[in-house]
């Protein structure tokens, strides 16, 4: 795991001092609302319905137990005792007081954390595959590159006032577990015909009001050209992106307006023109960063048959909530934040402390956050897995639903967020109450349900196999359903609206009808998404809204 040196520490401390002064000037009336808004947002501080919301950066989703304990302390001392993990692997506090935020930032800085660029029109936290470094299919660990990009992007003098927010995800496996195709830039570590590893570069993906899948603008970028190429993309966007309309300001709109080929030509021309002045590749720095991500000292173990002789309860959990590790005798274990009664992604201070302790006992003291709002222990010895399962169960973090319908992504919604048009947590609860039969969920197989309380799509609804979007109709909460979206790999697609939105009370019933269509139409072992792709939206449309269906 990356560790700060004197320079990293100094920068973060100076950021705390700067933000402390900006907050002081605002509270003293020296800085107007609008100006402070722009300044606080680029430090992750929103003003929400009930209180400010502070979003803390978790670079590429990697946390130490010390950092988790600091979250617990902040949750207790400055919040109402809990936090919320987001789809960009960050953590949000919903109840800090504005005047205490500088003190929170100082505490975070003491454990090598910050809230820099977790919001605002700048380059946001760089995210990665949560199985980075341990996935058997990995070409190369993306995290050193994430860190290299993180440093370059932090307080970048030229790209800190972009037309709109800018998100980058990096993956190192053919299986895309970071939703990279719906990021402003997606970088895929790939091997070319000569066997060299470099980056496939995608641009123009994004969710929000006009969801789009990114376009490949370069099949292979040599590693040493990474920063110069990123600068060419960012400069083209900074100068040409629209600034007249906030809803047309993301890079995806520019790429769409120009066409991906024309955009690529502009980037390539800018890249060539900047050859002599762009950042040069710093091999020594990359090596220095890489040294923080060398594999830990694994014990020499062999794979065990853990299912044998165990209860079906354990086997169900093991099959869904643990993942293959490239080192024999180890597995990755999901720490589920999707128990039926838990708002997806939420975690209390006590739980944070317990997870920190468990990570030290079972997984080298490190924790990862996943883009689907769970936590993960990456390096668990298989022989410890049964014991860990008991611990997680006692914490209500062993819900064996990973990858199923109720492992849903859900934004905080109208209960907290002032952007939201409708609540989402009560819908999650409604769905959990309706679909509480685990055998039925297993029978349905892998389904990604994703839900957002507004167009901004923090809950990734447009790329859910089933997407739920909260809309406001004359002050009432309604929900629009989309089908067929996907954030992963080759399959990335934007979901299609199936028809008129439904009332709050009818969401679970509507989902149930959708699932009935799937169950009736599926061929053996066919996943929901594959059935949808085969039969299209029409059968769902016809039967979900038909009145007779309700009786059926």
């Amino acid at each position: 795991m990356y560790q700060y040196d004197q320079i990293d520490r100094q920068l973060v401390n100076q950021r705390v001092a700067q933000f402390r002064d900006q907050t002081r000037r605002f509270l003293a009336g020296e800085l107007g609302e609008d100006d402070f808004r722009s300044l606080r947002l680029r430090n992750g501080l929103y003003i929400q319905k009930h209180a400010p919301m502070l979003r803390i950066s978790v670079p590429y989703g990697l946390l130490s137990s010390t950092q988790l304990r600091m979250f617990a302390r902040i949750a207790r001392e400055y919040d109402k005792g809990y936090g919320h993990f987001t789809t960009r692997q960050n953590l949000q506090f919903n109840w800090p007081k504005l005047e205490t935020v500088p003190d929170i930032l100082a505490l975070l800085a003491s454990v090598e954390m910050h809230a820099i660029q977790t919001s605002g029109n700048c380059i946001r936290n760089v995210t990665a595959d949560h199985l980075a470094g341990i996935a058997p299919d990995e070409i190369e660990d993306p995290r050193p590159w994430c860190e290299y990009i993180r440093q370059w992007a932090t307080l970048h003098p030229e790209f800190s006032f972009l037309p709109r927010k800018f998100k980058i995800a990096v993956t190192g496996s053919p299986a895309d577990r970071a939703a990279s195709k719906v990021h402003d830039i997606g970088l895929h570590l790939v091997r070319n015909a000569e066997g060299e590893v470099g980056f496939e570069v995608l641009v123009g993906g994004g969710l929000g009001r006009m969801p789009m899948v990114g376009h490949v603008i370069r099949n292979f970028l040599p590693k040493q050209d990474l920063l110069s190429y990123l600068e060419a993309i960012l400069r083209t966007y900074n100068l040409e992106g629209r600034r007249d309309n906030i809803h047309r300001a993301r890079i995806k709109i520019l790429v769409k307006a120009l066409g991906p080929e024309k955009f690529r030509d502009m980037v390539e021309a800018e890249w060539q023109a900047a050859r002599d002045t762009a950042p040069v590749y710093d091999a020594a720095e990359v090596e220095r960063i890489k040294a923080f991500f060398t594999p830990p000292h694994y014990e020499t173990l062999s794979n065990e048959d853990l299912m044998a002789g165990q209860s079906s309860e354990f086997r169900n959990w093991y099959q869904r909530n643990t993942k293959t590790h490239k080192v024999p005798g180890y597995r990755a274990v999901v720490v589920s934040l999707k128990a039926p009664t838990r708002p997806p992604g939420d975690i209390t201070a006590d739980e944070l402390d317990r997870v920190a302790a468990l990570s030290e006992q079972y997984s080298l003291g490190q924790i990862r956050s996943t883009h689907d709002q769970n936590l993960l222990f990456a390096d668990v010895r298989q022989k410890d897995i049964v014991a860990l399962w008991h611990e997680l169960k006692s914490l209500d973090m062993g819900t064996p639903n990973v990858g199923t319908l109720t492992d849903m992504i859900c934004c905080p919604g109208g209960d907290f967020c002032s952007l939201a048009n409708a609540t989402s947590i009560p819908i999650a609860r409604q769905i959990n109450e309706r679909f509480d039969d685990i055998d039925y969920l297993y029978d349905l197989g892998p389904i990604e349900l994703k839900m957002s309380g507004c167009m901004n799509a923090c809950g990734h609804h447009s790329v859910g196999h089933i997407g739920i979007l909260g809309v406001d109709k004359n002050g009432e909460e309604w929900y629009q359903i989309t089908l067929g979206g996907s954030a992963s790999g080759f399959d990335a697609a934007i979901g299609q609206v199936i028809g008129p939105s439904v009332r709050h009370a009818e969401v679970a019933e509507t989902i149930s009808r959708i699932l009935n269509v799937y169950v009736a139409e599926r061929k053996e072992e066919e996943r929901f998404i594959d059935t949808f792709r085969r039969i299209g939206v029409a059968p769902f449309k016809a039967r979900v809204y038909a009145p007779s269906d309700k009786a059926a």
């Binding site: 040196d5 320079i7 100094q10 920068l11 100076q14 950021r15 001092a17 700067q18 900006q22 020296e30 609008d34 100006d35 722009s38 300044l39 029109n121 440093q151 370059w152 932090t154 307080l155 970048h156 003098p157 030229e158 790209f159 800190s160 006032f161 972009l162 037309p163 920063l227 400069r235 900074n238 100068l239 600034r243 023109a273 900047a274 002045t277 950042p279 710093d282 020594a284 720095e285 220095r288």
Partner: protein
């Protein structure tokens, strides 16, 4: 008399904008970009100092061959959210090797100064109501930087050396 920060000092502005001094009596005149393009030949032989003021959509490449004559470029910022000027400045300094005065004008506040200076601006017109001493201190908000820019900052090579 207008004040500005130049090379980290508060100084009186020796330059005038075209609407302030239409005949160029002060011999240091800043023309709007459109007018410079229009009247370039006429001003080239004039015996005062010339500057050009550009807006966010004006292409800096159009000035590439003018730097023998132009010794100041003023770049406009409409507010904190306007970010094109940072790229314009960076291009002027690095690609077109402009060495004259690069001035940030419009709605400029202290919170931008660190970024602006790193992109090559060396002159800043703040509103008269600004706290000028605080603004001067803002250049030192950070003593380290992760990436190379127009100033060297502390570049990514920092640890290697």
């Amino acid at each position: 008399m207008r004040r500005l920060i130049k090379q980290r000092e508060i100084v009186a502005d020796e330059w005038r904008y075209a609407d302030e001094d239409p005949l160029g009596r002060e011999r240091a005149l800043i023309l709007p970009f459109a007018r410079w393009k229009e009247e370039r030949e006429r001003w080239w032989l004039w015996d005062g100092k010339l500057g050009v003021r550009i807006g966010p959509t004006d292409p800096v490449a159009a000035l590439e061959h003018d730097f023998l004559r132009i010794s100041l470029v003023a770049i406009e910022f409409g507010g904190l959210g306007e970010g094109r000027g940072y790229s314009q400045a960076q291009l002027l300094r690095k690609r077109y090797k402009f060495t004259g005065e690069l001035r940030a004008v419009g709605k400029i506040q202290r919170d931008q100064l660190f970024y602006l200076a790193r992109c090559g601006f060396n002159a800043f017109e703040l509103p008269e109501t600004a706290n000028w001493d605080e603004a001067l201190a803002a250049f030192d908000d950070y003593s380290v930087a992760y990436q190379p820019a127009v100033d060297d900052g502390v570049s990514l090579q920092r640890r290697a050396s």
